[in-house]
Symmetry: C2
Subunit: 348 residues, 2 copies
């Protein structure tokens, strides 16, 4: 591989000058500059990023820690983060933590050793060692999608409160009043936040959300399926359900179909995220969008700003969200006299 030295020799200048031409870090005479550029092209020179990073203490890298790479709720974060990182002329190094603190710490250790310029966490846990490790360095980091309790960590989240409110208002608007909710793990702040928005909108409309209508899930498809079983057992006669993410909502739909029930006929279902799968299932899922691209961009930009500011910023960026109406929600069916109810195998 050709090195700067080769370029310098070929162009008849010093190594320093070559570096200056490449990085535009100091004025260089037009003629000299052209000579260097020609030489670079001539011998197909590629600046070595390890050497540059070693000296300048910037690996030209961003790290991305994800709890599960193949999880549908994260794939778009990964995609847009990569895109944004690349626009900033950096590389993206990705690590799957499997939600395991040890794996996470190991990955962060690896990143530190690589002189990364910043790290993005998707859904780090509150008691993660990783953030402590990073606080001993000067490496900027951002937590995406999950605000932490401690207010000192920079985060980028969607407007979770409004998400809950939008879902509730949509269902209320269709005429529903007996509405249940399938939440994520309630020890996670964003779930409580979404739930707050949801209940507040309900109570504004004069409705309550009794505790028996709140189901706690784990954000995975199976949660939704299992919740249908619970519903069939307790038969709370609800007419609509809002799941706090799409995967669970799709699980609800699947579970209902498995029991001979139909959505939205027998129950309206809505979710959160607007993952691509929403358009693949039937009925297509009504949902509140997670602004994946805007959030990813904001996270990368925050990192870059933090780097150039040279100090930790503790911003909490909140990206607005909106409702996407599709097929899984409709006005509540009349409970009696409806002919199809008679042919149903089961009912809620």
């Amino acid at each position: 591989m050709a090195s700067m030295k080769d370029v310098a020799e070929m162009a008849g200048v010093s190594i320093s000058t070559v570096s200056r031409v490449i990085n535009d870090t100091h004025p260089v005479d037009g003629k000299t500059r052209r000579a260097v550029e020609d030489a670079i092209r001539m011998i197909n020179y590629r600046p070595n990023l390890l050497a540059a990073g070693l000296r300048s203490k910037s690996g030209n890298l961003i790290g991305l820690a994800v709890p599960d790479i193949a999880h549908h709720s994260f794939e778009e974060f990964i995609k847009y983060t990569e895109q944004s990182v690349r626009e900033h002329k950096h590389g993206l190094i990705i690590g799957d933590t499997h939600s395991d603190p040890d794996a996470e710490a190991e990955f962060i250790d690896h990143l530190i050793r690589r002189n990364v310029d910043g790290i993005i966490f998707i859904r780090v846990s509150d008691q993660s060692r990783a953030l402590d490790m990073l606080n001993e360095t000067s490496i900027p980091y951002v937590v995406l999608d999950r605000a932490l309790e401690s207010g000192t960590v920079p985060t980028v989240t969607m407007d979770n409160f409004t998400a809950g409110r939008l879902a509730a208002e949509h269902l209320l608007g269709l005429g529903h009043s007996r509405i249940a909710c399938l939440t994520g793990p309630l020890d996670v702040a964003l779930c409580r936040e979404r739930l707050n928005g949801f209940t507040q909108a309900l109570s504004h409309a004069g409705h309550r959300l009794p505790d028996q209508w709140i189901f706690e899930g784990d954000f995975r498809f199976e949660s939704g399926v299992r919740t249908v079983e619970l519903l069939l057992k307790s038969k709370p006669r609800i007419t609509a359900l809002w799941a706090q993410n799409d995967l669970m909502a799709i699980g609800i739909i699947g579970g209902m179909i498995d029991h001979g029930l139909a959505v939205p006929r027998d129950m309206s279902v809505a979710g959160v995220d607007d993952i691509v799968t929403c358009r693949m299932v039937r009925p297509q899922l009504t949902t509140v969008s997670q602004p994946f691209e805007a959030m990813s961009r904001a996270a990368v930009q925050l990192l870059m700003r933090e780097r150039s500011a040279g100090k930790r910023l503790t911003e909490r960026i909140v990206i607005p969200t909106e409702l996407v109406v599709r097929q899984s929600t409709a006005p509540p069916a009349e409970r009696t006299g409806s002919p199809q109810l008679k042919t149903k195998k089961e009912s809620l």
Copy 2:
């Protein structure tokens, strides 16, 4: 950050010895070794990967070039590749090429400058510049999932021929004889390979696959939806359809439901890949599995072997596949006298 020098001083040895302890590259006396290890722990020393990589010409990195990070058919490749790479104590740097040769070349350039130890392509195109660039270096690479025409490139693929055969045999076994196929782009070798296995199994059973029953798609969900429109226009009276990937198969199911048709009642549908979405849609999709994990592991291992062999290997690894039967396939319905046919809005 502490450096080797600090460790050496603290342990009262030379830098070389510290390096030898860390890399186990030369015998070191037990006492000295312990002194060094203590010092390392004491000052929380982390070897710098950039410095190490610069000198040893190994970035401890694997690059992964993907046409679309958020595409469901790839996400499991990404996940398992990351896992396998990490087991080999390397980092994974990921790039989305958007199937664009320029973006791809730019990413490869970036990787070369980082002294990566190997590169995995998912579905590189035949006329990609990237492979030429790499052939000028000594960096090993592997193409995952799509065998190239030119036999000199190391590849890891599933057994595409058998995939086609398994799909056909399954549908034949259920009693179908009028079976259509929705292929991927037919200029792609693996699609023809799958089709060959499919048609061969059909003809072994004494059936033909007429040209009008072969539809060419692009591996995306919308292809499936669109194909249903075509089927409704030409009404070929087929009873089963095999799509060459799950996304298109799920599109078929969606399109049929949109037209008041049901799967497998009105048509059996099968796919290829066994992505997680298969279990989320209703009916759950019968499919031929893509062995994501085995393929990813094989690709990473091939890279590592190539590195230690010190020369290009041109292996073509083929991983076996198997049929996964779920709900979207069933024996063909009787075409006449079937009561539900009368209530259908449309029919194939």
